[in-house]
Amino acid sequence: MLASVIPSLVAAAPRTTLGNASDWAVFLVGAALILLGAFGVILLRNPVHCALNLVITLIGVALEFIDQSADFLAAVQIIVYAGAIVILFLFVIMFLGIDRKEALGREATRFQKPLAVIIGLMALGLILALSRVDHWVSGTPAQSGVLNGPGTNVQKLGQSIYTGYLLPFEMTAALLVIAVVAAVVLSRRHHSIAGEMTSDEQQELLQRPGAGPADAPPPPASAGGVDGAEETQSLEGVPAE
C-alpha cells in the first residue's frame, strides 16, 4: 500500500508546488498593488492622482478575488468600482475644478496627523496581536450554500441571490432608485438661473434709479450707449443663486 501511495505523492507534488507558486505570485502582486495604491491615496496631494491610485488598489483587490476563485466578484469589482465609481469621482473633480493641491499649513489642530498615524499603527498592532491569540474562524460552515462543488461561481452566487437573498436583492433596486432621486434633488439649483428672474427681482430692477421702465424718455445717444451697456452688464451680473 505504501508503494502505491508514494508514486502518487511524487506525481502530485510538482503540480501542487507549481500551483502554490502561481497563487503566491498572484497574491504578492495583488498585495503590492493594493498597498501602493492605498498609500498613494492617502499621501498624494492632487485629488486626480489620488483617484488614479484608488484604481490601482481596486485592481489589486480584484486580483486577490481572482486568487480566491471569486471570479464574478472580480469582474464586478473592475466594472462597478473602477468603471463607475472612480469615474464618478473624476467627474466631480474635473467638473468642480478642484484638481488643485491641498493647502498645507492651515491645520485647525496641529497634532491631529501624527496622532492619527500613531493610533492607526496601534490599531493594526492590536488586530494582528488579536489574530495570534484568537481563532480566525468560529461558527458553522455553509449556512447559505456551499462554495465548492459542482457548478460555476456565477451559478452558485446567482442561485443564492435569487432564492435565499431575493428580498434584499429587490431592496437594492429601491435603494438605487432612492439614491438617484436624492442625487437629482441635491444637485438641483433652487434659485433662478441666469437670465431668468423672478417677479420680485424684475420689480426691484424696474424701480432702481437709472434703469427706468420702457416708456421713459430715451436718454441722449452718447449716454444711452453707456447706460445700455451697464444695464446689460447688471442683467448678466445677476448671480445664479
Partner: protein, 101 residues
C-alpha cells in the same frame, strides 16, 4: 487553498487601517470619501476570504450587496459635495457646517 487565509486577512487589516488613517489625516472631503472606499474594499476582501475558508457562498453574496450600497453611497455623497461647492469653493471637512438649514 494554497495561500493561507491568514495572509489575506493581514492584508485586509493593513488596507483597512491605511484607509482609516487617511480618513483622519486628510481634510479634503473627496479624498476622505476615497479612504472610505479603501475601508470597504478591505472588508470585501475579508468577506471573500472567509467565504473561501468556511466554504460558504454567503460571504460573496455579502460582497455583492456591499458593492451596491457603496455605489448608492458614492452617488449621494458626491451630490452633497457638489452642493457644498455651490455654496463655497472649498471642500474641507470644516466647511460642512455651511449645509446647515
Amino acid at each position: 487553498m494554497s495561500v493561507p487565509a491568514a495572509w489575506y486577512l493581514i492584508l485586509a487589516a493593513i488596507l483597512f487601517l491605511v484607509g482609516a488613517t487617511g480618513l483622519l489625516v486628510r481634510r479634503n472631503v473627496l479624498i476622505m470619501f476615497m479612504c472610505i472606499e479603501l475601508m470597504l474594499n478591505a472588508v470585501n476582501l475579508t468577506f471573500v476570504t472567509f467565504s473561501r475558508l468556511l466554504n460558504d457562498v454567503g460571504g460573496q453574496v455579502d460582497v455583492f450587496f456591499v458593492l451596491v450600497v457603496a455605489a448608492a453611497e458614492v452617488v449621494v455623497g458626491l451630490a452633497i459635495i457638489v452642493a457644498m461647492f455651490r455654496r463655497r469653493a472649498a471642500a474641507t471637512a470644516d466647511d460642512i457646517h455651511i449645509l446647515k438649514g
